[in-house]
């Protein structure tokens, strides 16, 4: 029996023995911090690059402001479609004012056509119709076309600024910048 006890091998590691490779409590937190910072930096950098990608370096689009001839060029009650293709704007002159209408349908964003004989803008997508003033009167469009800021430049030409738009439903067509008195 005593010989049996002797043959029992000793425990390979005694609990009291210190292991140099052990992480320890402080070491754990140190590595955790490093890990999280690295992770946040990597994902943060990744998403920064993605977001940056959404804003192109060069934009090949027409300028947001343009000159649209002299006020006297426009006949009364006339829709000028010359600036539609390049600037997405209709220049309209009614009895007492000139204004710049956006060509984006307020229903789902198609481009309506000006039907001169019927005196209305008509959208080919869902049939919304707008009067010459931009007021919606048929089809599903929930609100009138938007107007852009319009003013007279120093050389006497009309200056249209597309960065600022005026919405009828907010009462902004009363704003003096939204039309030109003639």
């Amino acid at each position: 029996m005593t010989e049996d006890i002797k043959t029992t091998p000793p425990a390979s590691v005694t609990p009291a023995e210190k292991d140099d490779n052990a992480l320890g409590r402080r070491g754990f937190f140190r590595w955790m911090t490093v890990g999280w910072i690295a992770f946040s930096a990597a994902t943060g950098g990744f998403f920064t690059v993605i977001v940056r990608f959404l804003f192109p370096n060069v934009l090949f689009e027409p300028p947001q402001t343009f000159k649209a001839g002299f006020p006297n060029d426009y006949a009364s009650n006339f829709v000028d479609t010359r600036y539609k293709k390049k600037f997405n704007v209709w220049m309209v002159r009614d009895e007492e004012s000139i204004f710049a209408l956006s060509t984006v349908c307020t229903h789902l964003g198609c481009t309506p056509n000006w039907l001169g004989t019927e005196n209305k803008f008509k959208c080919p997508c869902h049939g919304s119709g707008f009067r010459m003033t931009g007021i919606n009167f048929e089809g599903p469009a929930p609100r009138p076309l938007e107007r852009y800021k319009i003013s007279v430049a120093t050389d006497g030409q009309i200056l249209v600024d597309k960065t600022k738009s005026f919405k009828w439903e907010k009462g902004e067509w009363e704003n003096a910048e939204s039309f030109l008195k003639v």
């Binding site: 198609c110 080919p124 997508c125 869902h126 119709g129 599903p140 439903e169």
Partner: protein, 372 residues
């Protein structure tokens, strides 16, 4: 003679006429109650789901397309490469619906005579997923791929000039499977017809097994044992979805105006329309005052209509006409059936209000992008 038929078809296919006709005729084709069933039998409409009915239906569809092919105006629409899937769809829908209704009617007759349905002839008859089902699917898949490859080789893709935001084609049509949605968008605000309704359609179809707890007709074709459920589903599927696709494809022309199939697509067709919101009807036309400045007061009646339709109507129905049904299925199921059912019914109601009263929106708050 042929010209007269064409003119009649042009008049009949106006959405006001054709949609009304389909809606009124629908319960007689898929009878949901005994009364409709009696007329369905009396006038021989049930023969549509027999073999002569199949040949008759196929002949009518083919006749329409053949006549259309030789018509100079319909020829243009019909031979467009984009519209070929719709012609296939009309045929395949008729064939599959006829095939299931044919078997359902055979089974209904057997069940009435105290026999078991056709599918239960041999209780030991089993079909294994592998190989029986998977092989059929595999062969169908190969055949369909061959068909698609041949089609794509033979028919050139209908590409157009590069997209230009300043020039929208007139008419501008969605892909054929979305034309039903585009037709819904004519009557609703984009967020309702483009987001809420499509979500309701998908979620509602997923919820069908939880709402329809009828255990009958499980594993075999039958119409009579679940006729109300089938009537509702088929109305939504055939009239509110497929028929709207057909309207969008064949009957909508320049400026999204309506044109009969044999009518020339005149871009200058004048259709007088003047759509008015409910608030304008009430405040301006009836009371003769201006629109109130407060938005909630202005649209108050619209909100009342909405609450009455979606909230009070189901409660009234549960206490009167649908009392037994309500007790049978319980309040939770009833609420969801009403939510999906009334939303589905809102589409034809809104379409009719547009056609009859030029009503644009029941609640119109463009300031908040909230229009119903």
């Amino acid at each position: 003679m042929l010209q007269t038929i064409k003119d009649i078809i042009d008049i009949l296919s106006a959405p006001t006429v054709s949609f009304t006709f389909l809606t009124v005729a629908f319960p007689f084709v898929f009878p949901p109650t005994d009364w409709f069933e009696k007329i369905h039998r009396k006038f021989g409409i049930w023969r549509l789901w027999t073999k002569p009915g199949f040949y008759g239906g196929m002949f009518a569809i083919t006749f329409f397309f053949v006549v259309g092919y030789f018509d100079p105006n319909f020829h243009v629409t019909l031979t467009k490469a984009d519209n070929f899937p719709i012609i296939l769809m009309i045929y395949s829908m008729f064939i599959t619906i006829w095939w299931s209704m044919y078997q359902a009617y055979l089974n209904d007759e057997r069940l009435e005579n105290g026999l078991k349905p056709n599918e239960y002839n041999d209780p030991d008859d089993k079909v294994l997923v592998w190989p029986d089902l998977v092989y059929i699917e595999f062969i169908a898949l190969i055949l369909f791929m061959v068909f698609l490859i041949v089609w794509s080789i033979l028919v050139a893709a209908p590409l157009e000039e590069p997209a230009n935001p300043a020039a929208t084609p007139n008419p501008s049509k969605a892909p054929w499977y979305f034309l039903g949605l585009q037709e819904m968008l004519v009557y609703f605000d984009p967020w309702i017809a483009g987001i809420v309704f499509p979500m309701f359609i998908i979620i509602g179809m997923m919820a069908i097994p939880y709402m329809d707890i009828n255990k009958k007709g499980d594993g075999y074709y039958s119409f009579k044992e679940r006729r109300i459920g089938m009537f509702i589903f088929m109305y939504g599927w055939l009239v509110l979805w497929l028929f709207l696709i057909v309207i969008g494809t064949f009957f909508r022309g320049p400026n999204w105006n309506f044109f009969g199939p044999f009518e020339y697509w005149d871009a200058h067709k004048v259709v007088p329309l003047n759509n008015v919101n409910l608030s304008e009807y009430i405040w301006v036309k009836t009371l003769g005052t201006g629109l109130p400045a407060n938005i909630l007061i202005r649209e108050g009646i619209g909100f009342l209509v909405l609450v009455a339709y979606m909230g009070i109507l189901p409660i009234l129905l549960a206490k009167s006409w649908l009392k037994n049904y309500f007790q049978e299925i319980g309040p939770v199921r009833y609420t969801f059936i009403m939510l999906f059912g009334l939303s589905m019914l809102a589409l034809p109601i809104k379409m009719y209000m547009r056609w009859l009263f030029n009503l644009k929106y029941i609640i119109a708050i463009p300031e908040w992008f909230f229009n119903i």
